[in-house]
Symmetry: C2
Subunit: 297 residues, 2 copies
DNA sequence: CTCCTTTTTGTAGTTAAAATACATTTTTCT
DNA sequence: AGAAAAATGTATTTTAACTACAAAAAGGAG
């Protein structure tokens, strides 16, 4: 049996998206099935072959032909892939926001799109580069985070987390201060530069200056770009491309997850050493609150 | 260690988690199946009943009894639920971070945990409250965002996005300025307060002051809390609870997605009016970059 | 400790679902 | 309009999932 081939299934993209794209190339009856699937995927997910055929008003073999046409080995595999895609939420197809969308639809679309993109980012992340970054950060005497605009938010987030694990670090907001800080960096320091485009001139300057001073430079970028030429380690965080207005959020969120990974990894290495210090800090925060369940802000 | 607590919360969600919990109550042979599933869920996902039985070294009916024991109607339903869970990433079981984890394992665990939590947040979001918030924000003359610590990052993010759609807004970082800003608010203004705990005293004060001045107050909080008593609309963003070190990230990310939804919804309403202005802004940003593909930062 | 009861597990058979081979209908092009 | 090609449905085969029952193992009382 071809179980080996089937297992590569996971690397595929969203099946509903595939169905939508294949739609024009399908035969008339197959298209009936496709439309049914796009219309109410959950219904199909819980239906057996016979029921799916009845719902689409075609014969059973047609449904199977449809499955084969979109690249599945059969109805069973199709259902498995459908289950995978539905877990991640509605597709990019459905994620085109419309003025007529209800609130519930917006929630579904944006969450779905976010999760699908995260799934994509996960499968495209360069583990090795990440490992190198972790090694650099773990050994750093101090860390500086740089970013502008949306990426500035990510930098701030990183700057807020890393001190918890005993790494002194900072993040500057404006470009002048960033350049000043970068020029003060030296061997043993690590600069982490966030730039989704990787084309922002100010960030490239920062990378050059920091590197000249002897510091190591890590770039977290959305695509292969000029910035990477001036960095020691490049972490590419690819997200689903989308030229739409609402896009930037997802690259930001993916970057935050990457920061989380970096931070956790570095934290794990330093855990034993700084665990107690962290507990003390947590206690201080608690005193800032009225009585109630204790959680982290 | 890290994500241990998830298990109790996650009941009914992730099938692998359910399997892990049911483990002690299972019969000896059923436990063999359970272990096989936990060990290599992807293998089982691509296996037929007969193969699953062979892999676990038990008979086919035993596998079915196992499925029934953990609450599925049969093997088919089990596989569907497994596909769903695997799509969201590795389970909470596997998400307990360990010092021995490879980088790839960390990536898998943290992405998986993030996605599972987003799935949870999505299904627990109060659509109606969200709708009310959108209505308030759409009609606002100006908006102020408030938050401290991790929630401060969320506030900044919101403050960065909303102007794109023509809503004047601000976000203050320190508590004194926050109170000052809040005290200047009046009817027609909207205050959005981010506080994961909802117990932070400074934020409750801000809510009171803003409301007294006649402004509408929207709270985005992780749980039912004192803060909500002083707000007009409460958006609860529930995430998988976890008192551990790494928790704040997920509540932050879930909150960012909610901000995205609010912003998109408000944007859609104002789109026709401000579409051109947005394009102009985008062009300005482009000039800040060296030549290369055009994207948003 | 041995025989009986209860629980657990496997064997064999049944049912149902999915895939295939083939026939019929529809379309298209000369 | 008629033949070739394509598309779709019918009938059959194959395969997988589920069920009934019997054997084996575990537990308990005499």
């Amino acid at each position: 049996m071809a179980y080996e081939e089937i297992s590569s299934r996971n690397t595929g993209q969203n099946i509903l998206e595939i169905v939508r794209q294949a739609l024009p190339g399908l035969r008339k009856s197959e298209r009936k099935v496709a439309n049914r699937v796009l219309e109410d995927p959950n219904r199909i997910l819980n239906a057996a072959l016979a029921e799916a055929a009845a719902l689409s008003d075609v014969s059973e073999p047609t449904v199977i032909r449809f499955c084969v046409a979109i690249g599945c080995s059969g109805y069973q595999e199709f259902k498995l892939r459908l289950a995978h895609s539905l877990a991640l939420g509605t597709t990019a197809t459905h994620s085109v926001l419309s003025k007529n969308d209800s609130t519930a639809e917006l929630v579904e679309k944006i969450f779905g799109y976010t999760m699908t993109s995260l799934d994509w980012a996960r499968s495209h992340l360069d583990t090795q580069a990440l490992g190198e970054a972790i090694a650099l950060l773990s050994g750093a005497r101090s860390i500086e985070f740089f970013g502008l605009g949306a990426s500035g938010i990510v930098a701030l987030d990183a700057q807020q987390k890393f001190p918890l694990f005993g790494v002194p670090c900072g993040a500057q907001a404006d470009t002048h201060q960033q350049l000043m800080t970068a020029s003060m960096m030296q061997a043993g320091d690590v600069a982490v530069i966030f730039s989704n485009t990787g084309h922002t001139i100010a960030m490239i300057e920062v990378a050059k200056v920091a590197k000249d001073g002897g510091a190591k430079v890590i770039a977290v970028s959305g695509s292969r770009s000029p910035l990477l030429d001036h960095c020691d380690v490049a972490i590419l965080v690819e997200t689903l491309d989308n030229t739409d207005i609402y896009t930037p959020t997802i690259s930001r969120i993916a970057a935050l997850v990457v920061v989380d990974i970096l931070c956790s990894a570095v934290g794990l290495r330093r855990d034993a050493e700084h665990g107690q210090r962290f507990e003390n800090m947590k206690q201080l925060l608690r005193n800032q609150r009225v009585n109630g369940p204790v959680k982290t802000s």
